[in-house]
Subunit: 313 residues, 2 copies
Amino acid sequence: MDQYCIGVDVGGTSVKFGLFSGEGDLLERWSIRTRTAEKGKYILGDIAESIASKMEEKNLRRNNLIGIGIGIPGPTQSDGYVEVCVNLGWEDLNPAKELQALLGVPVFAGNDANVAALGEMWKGGGEGYRDVVLFTLGTGVGGGVILDGKILAGHRGLAGELGHITVNPDEPEACNCGNHGCLEQYASATGVARVAAKILRESSKDSALRGLRRFSAKDVFDAAKKGDELSLQAVEVLGKYLGRVCATVALTVDPDVFVIGGGVSKAGPILTDVISKYYKFYTPLTEKKVPVVLAELGNDAGIYGAARMALDH
Amino acid sequence: MDQYCIGVDVGGTSVKFGLFSGEGDLLERWSIRTRTAEKGKYILGDIAESIASKMEEKNLRRNNLIGIGIGIPGPTQSDGYVEVCVNLGWEDLNPAKELQALLGVPVFAGNDANVAALGEMWKGGGEGYRDVVLFTLGTGVGGGVILDGKILAGHRGLAGELGHITVNPDEPEACNCGNHGCLEQYASATGVARVAAKILRESSKDSALRGLRRFSAKDVFDAAKKGDELSLQAVEVLGKYLGRVCATVALTVDPDVFVIGGGVSKAGPILTDVISKYYKFYTPLTEKKVPVVLAELGNDAGIYGAARMALDH
């Protein structure tokens, strides 16, 4: 009998699904809208219905499914328990248990960034490694820590919340979390544009960015690649703070590899080079540095990691 | 047949031993000098001899010993391999395997600060917890990370090197490691005295410390407890940097508890209070903070942790 598993990545606007073979090949992906109305009470039912209809379409029975993995956009404990998930409206819920009750198939849950890190370890930028730290540089900055091939969830599901590490306590502007000087304020897409805008305001030098009415992180990196001095300064700011966090994380959990994903990572090697430069600078203690590489799975990292969670159990 | 185990804590000047019952009670402790001459080639032989004569004294045979744990003052991989141990002169050595060959008893090795953290989890300030982070504030600052009751050694044996996390890149003075602004420069015994001396130089205010020709971290804390303003400033500096590292570590591995040990921790609650204050300040992300407590085993943490390593295998 053929064996399959399903990886689910729950986001604030859509839920992504991947059907995988038992060998871990992605056979098909699909998605539905996330109904966050009424404290997200319809989300798990919608997911169960979507999976049930896909199983019908493919003529799959319950015993064809090894299991289902699900990534949640908020702190998730290792037993799947979610105390609060602001993005979905959930409170005091175990989505893994609920979904398992609805479908009669084993379900395993983790925080979405942690799950994405597992995906990148399995089939992405971290392939071949067992101790992987992922930074996801998107609208915000997410993080995931994989130790010995397994997600580190942490005592309260907060492990790998690397975007909210304080890197500059003197920052006058507040982060969304209320703190000042979180990594996210310099290394997210919005952060890169914010930093560049500040550099432009404080300098009288010319810059390609001055010709744009509004600019994004991509614009900053594109200009930096062409040698635009002020854009390069913004890139250095990102590298300095993210590289220092890599150094700090290396001295805490000592991983094999750092993987950089999210929209900002489309900038390519200019990004990993500048992070790597500062990571090395801040760890003189050891000669041996681990690589800083680009993520490879893009938006599929979540469904890959979720599938891997199911296969590992 | 009665069962025992032995915990060994190798330091740069002495090797401490503890004989434990199979139930984990410390029955006897003793120590020998560390012979670091000739690249530390005599150390393991001396340890084996000392254990063998203790076994003879106690009428113990090999099969009375469950195993031996040994803490090494340098990066130690999870299989016991030590690439370089500057303090002992060792290079490219597996002390666990060598000692096992000499004594015919299972031997397990770990970094001394990690092993001490395991000891504090077992019978000290971290008792009752499974995810423990220890800071040892002595001449330098050591650290140890215990996850799910086990030492996290890290890919290169560097996990838990928390004293060399950069907390102030603008620091003009260099740390022993070559970096600038390591936690160790503010939170070690020498660091506290250094910071206080700097505060005294830069202020014209009166201070009890000014009456002393030389002063130690203990003098600084004693004065601070009596309300000495400049001494309190030095304590705040320690709290700010160590509290921020606790916040960073919490967002990386999310432990149950932080344990503060080493000579500086004799200062007592004034120390854990100031660390806790800043740790909470730098983690607005979550309402739930974990406790910051004092270590309880003093110099015995190493032999306790080493014994626990042997009992766990």
